[in-house]
């Protein structure tokens, strides 16, 4: 039996505009991890724990933190771990489930400073963060992070981060809000140990603590509504466990579907000049206009009569691209199902057939029945597993029953049935 892993967050430095620490986690070499901002704020060490906890759960054991941590965070991280561990059994990555770690850290005396009256939200320029700004007028500050979705190590994103930052600075100025930019290498810590999809909220929470002295509340906009939220990533259940005595971490967005969020922002002039949803960024594109996420957003904008008004996307939809686009994740399927409903509700027969084929392909790829529907409020049917096979068998049966040779022998079968009945 192997010894329990002994892990450590050491040499934590909290200086104006910078937090750095040495992450000594099992399975990887020790690394210096940093968060930097031009904003003059002395970060809270709670940020280091938020960044390291899930990566440390890859091997379990103990995690020692040298600096004092918020008593509330120390108490609630146990619940965070238990939930993540429970969820990780259901993640479909072919990896071992996460293991709980025993966190040892001195507890900080709570310092209830007077409220600052400031509320921040993360701002990538995407649908979710724009919707959070529109729905929460009390937001006073925006936070843009370099090093989470746009990475310096990816050649095709070369120069993109500067362009994005420039546009977001302009947007923040127009919105009358202060933009704080944070640069980080936190993905060097996480990528070898945990998947980005379940982890991505953790760096945002770490950055919320980085700015704890500035804000009463930091909003993390999740990307999925309560009804179809998978047990993974940013959700109210786990994000809010990271609130401390100094700053409240708020998960936002669960009340609104993606279609509703697009509707909320489609007419906003700043969103029309800035909206950014692309993760593929082929050739350094701000929005490629051809990937699954771009098309999802573009079609939704089109349904809101706003596609041509949004400057950051091509004016025309190229639906043929969908034929070569994979749809292989349950949550992506749910979003496309919603979009298809919206297309049908709007009576857009010019778009519906391409989407129907795309959604049908997704269901087949995932082995789901064509009657499957993720959203219960749209009469979701969860007939898993046998879907694709059943479809194929039903189609074959239909062909046989409709064939000329089967119909031709119908009189023979009737005769046979009569003879058998007479014998009985």
């Amino acid at each position: 039996m192997t010894e329990p892993a002994t892990q450590q967050i050491a040499d934590i430095r909290c200086e104006p505009g910078e937090l750095s620490f040495e992450a000594r986690l099992a399975g990887v070499e020790p690394q210096r991890i940093w968060f930097r901002s031009e904003t003059e704020v002395v970060p809270s060490a709670d940020a280091a724990l938020a960044a390291c906890l899930m990566p440390a759960m890859r091997h379990g054991g103990t995690l020692e933190v040298e600096e004092p941590i918020s008593p509330l965070v120390l108490a609630n991280q146990r619940d965070f771990q238990a939930i993540q561990k429970g969820w990780s059994y259901g993640w479909d990555y072919g990896e071992e489930p996460l293991e709980e770690v025993e966190v040892t850290a001195p507890s900080r005396a709570p310092d209830p400073s007077p409220p600052t009256g400031r509320v921040a939200t993360f701002f990538s320029g995407g649908v979710d963060s724009f919707a959070a700004i529109v729905a929460n007028p009390e937001v006073s500050d925006l936070i843009f992070v370099r090093g989470v979705d746009i990475l310096p190590r990816l050649a095709h994103q070369d120069g993109l981060v500067e362009e994005v930052e420039t546009r977001l600075r302009e947007a923040a100025a127009e919105l009358g809000k202060t933009l704080h930019v944070v640069d980080t290498n936190v993905r060097d810590l996480s990528d070898p140990l945990v998947r980005w999809e379940p982890y991505f909220a953790c760096p945002l929470i770490a950055i919320s603590h980085f700015f704890a002295p500035l804000f009463d509340r930091v909003i993390v906009a999740g990307d999925i509504d309560f009804e179809i939220q998978p047990p993974m990533g940013a959700t109210m259940l786990v994000d809010e466990l990271w609130s401390s005595e100094e700053v409240e971490v708020v998960d936002w967005g669960g009340r609104f579907s993606r279609e509703r969020r697009v509707e909320m922002i489609a007419a906003h002039p700043v969103a029309r000049r800035t909206l950014r949803t692309c993760w593929e960024n082929k050739g350094g594109a701000y929005n490629c206009g051809r990937c699954r996420k771009c098309l999802l957003t573009m079609i939704s904008l089109e349904l809101n009569g706003a596609l041509q008004a949004v400057e950051t996307f091509p004016d025309e939809l190229d639906l043929e691209v969908l034929a070569g686009t994979p749809l292989n994740q349950p949550i992506a399927l749910a979003l496309w199902e919603d979009l298809l409903d919206h297309v049908r509700d709007e009576g857009r027969d010019d778009i519906a057939p391409a989407l129907e084929a795309f959604v049908a392909k997704g269901r087949s790829t995932m082995g789901l029945s064509q009657s499957y529907r993720t959203r219960q409020s749209r009469h979701g049917v969860h007939a898993k597993g046998t879907g694709a096979k059943l479809e194929a068998t039903e189609a074959e049966l239909e062909t046989v029953l409709g064939s000329r040779s089967w119909k031709l022998t119908e009189p023979l079968r009737r005769l046979g049935a009569r003879l058998r009945a007479r014998r009985r």
Binding site: D79, I83, P114, M236, R255, Q376, K384, L390, L397
Partner: protein, 421 residues
């Protein structure tokens, strides 16, 4: 069917030392005077009334107005509470229509930071979950017992029970050196205005709102109030007490938190089983025939007794029959499991017991109980409905392909295929 925009109102809210009451005017119902009372001197947070009324109002949607100023945090987060409850309600198995969101209209009060009281309370029914929290959370200073939630004055068979339970819980609190606050309320009338057989809002989905209301009622006394959940995080269900919804009722001065998710039911029983005060006061029964403290014959009693038996502690408990003989094992095996949540708890107990003891008669009773429950709830290990449908379609196709009338026409199909080439 009424198509009018439903209007609900919390009116005439009165807050005095140890009492909060208000008139709930819910759409389509007679106005109801709802009250919460306690012997402790406390001036309540008025948002207690909102916590109690919101889910019943969600039965029909519309607007809910209250004139009293409430916490800005509560007003902000009740929207999230509603969003989650609405989404969850689509998956509940009660055949009720899903809940609808309500627009809450209320003024907010200015936020005045309050000095911490240094006190932490736990809801305390004397059951496994609350005992586990009391013994597991070091900073607990106070206990809250509520009359009018699981023990109701309108039930003849529970007559006198609340007094006896409170007496035992007071003894337990004294023995632990904790202060017990007893709260009495008629809040259940809001969810069941026509009696328990006709719930507007199911108790399973609503009880934690009542606990949140009581937490806010006593809130100025505490920094934190803990609600003990029934399930471990690994087994969480989308109904009732959950971190997802309960913590949303905390205001700027009071934290409302869930406790217990770190442990499953069996681990909780193990945590509390050796404590002499627990052995004198543990109470799990909801049936209480003839006012019994624990009847020892209902599903909840029997599963708890079986768990105690499995860890060798049943005979030390004064509040249960000392033995789980053949008759009770038979009763256990024959219990009807009607809700997924209950099956989850029983399966958890079964799995934990398999790891801990070798008691074949107990294992057999659990096997029967679980098998019945799985069958009843459509979780049996046989094929799913979709698999059965697929198998039936395949069988029909194979029967046709093997039939004489299909085989004798094979030359015709070959001919047709050649022609089409």
């Amino acid at each position: 069917m009424s198509t009018a925009h439903p209007r609900h109102e919390i009116r005439d809210l009165a807050v005095g030392p140890g009492e909060l009451s208000f008139e709930a005017r819910l759409h389509g119902r007679e106005p109801q005077r709802i009250w919460l009372r306690t012997g402790s001197e406390v001036e309540s947070y008025p948002e207690a009334a909102l916590a109690a009324t919101l889910m019943p109002a969600m039965r029909s949607g519309g607007t809910l107005t209250m004139g009293e100023a409430i916490s800005p945090r509560v007003l902000r987060l009740q929207r999230e509470f509603q969003g989650i409850q609405r989404a969850w309600s689509r998956e509940w198995v009660f055949d009720d229509p899903p809940l609808e969101e309500v627009e809450v209209r209320a003024p907010v009060r200015p936020v005045e930071p309050r000095q911490p009281t240094g006190r932490v309370a736990v809801f305390f029914s004397g059951g496994v979950d609350s005992w586990s929290t009391v013994l597991g959370e070091e900073d607990v200073t106070d206990l809250i017992f509520v009359r009018g939630l699981d023990i109701l004055p309108r039930f003849a068979h529970q007559e006198g029970l609340a007094d006896r339970v409170e007496e035992r819980l007071r003894e337990a609190a004294d023995a632990l050196g904790l202060q017990l606050h007893s709260v009495e309320t008629n809040v259940r009338d809001l969810s069941e205005p026509r009696g328990p057989g006709y719930p507007e809002i199911r108790w399973e989905s609503y009880y934690n709102s009542c606990l949140a209301a009581v937490a806010l009622f006593l809130g100025p006394l505490f920094d934190r109030v803990l609600i003990s959940t029934g399930l471990a995080y690994s087994n969480m269900s989308k109904i009732g007490a959950s971190w997802m919804v309960d913590q949303l009722w905390g205001n700027e001065s009071l934290e409302i938190a869930d406790a217990g998710g770190l442990l499953g039911r069996v681990a909780r029983v193990e945590r509390i089983a050796d404590h002499p005060v627990v052995q004198r006061s543990l109470r799990v029964c909801w049936h209480n025939p003839d006012g019994a403290y624990n009847c020892g014959r209902c599903r909840k009693c029997l599963v708890t007794m079986a768990t105690l038996e499995a860890i060798g502690r049943l005979s030390e408990f004064e509040t249960f029959p000392p033995e789980l003989g053949p008759e009770r094992l038979e009763l256990l095996a024959a219990q009807e499991v009607q809700e997924p949540l209950h099956l989850d708890l029983i399966e958890e107990a079964q799995a934990a017991m398999k790891r801990r003891v070798d008691k074949p008669e107990l294992a057999r009773a659990f096997e029967k109980l679980v098998a019945n429950g799985r069958r009843r709830l459509g979780r049996d290990d046989g094929p799913s409905e979709a698999e059965r449908e697929a198998a039936a379609t395949k069988a029909k196709l194979e029967e046709i392909l093997a039939s004489r009338s299909w085989r004798i026409t094979a030359p015709l199909r070959r001919l047709a295929a050649r022609g089409s080439r």
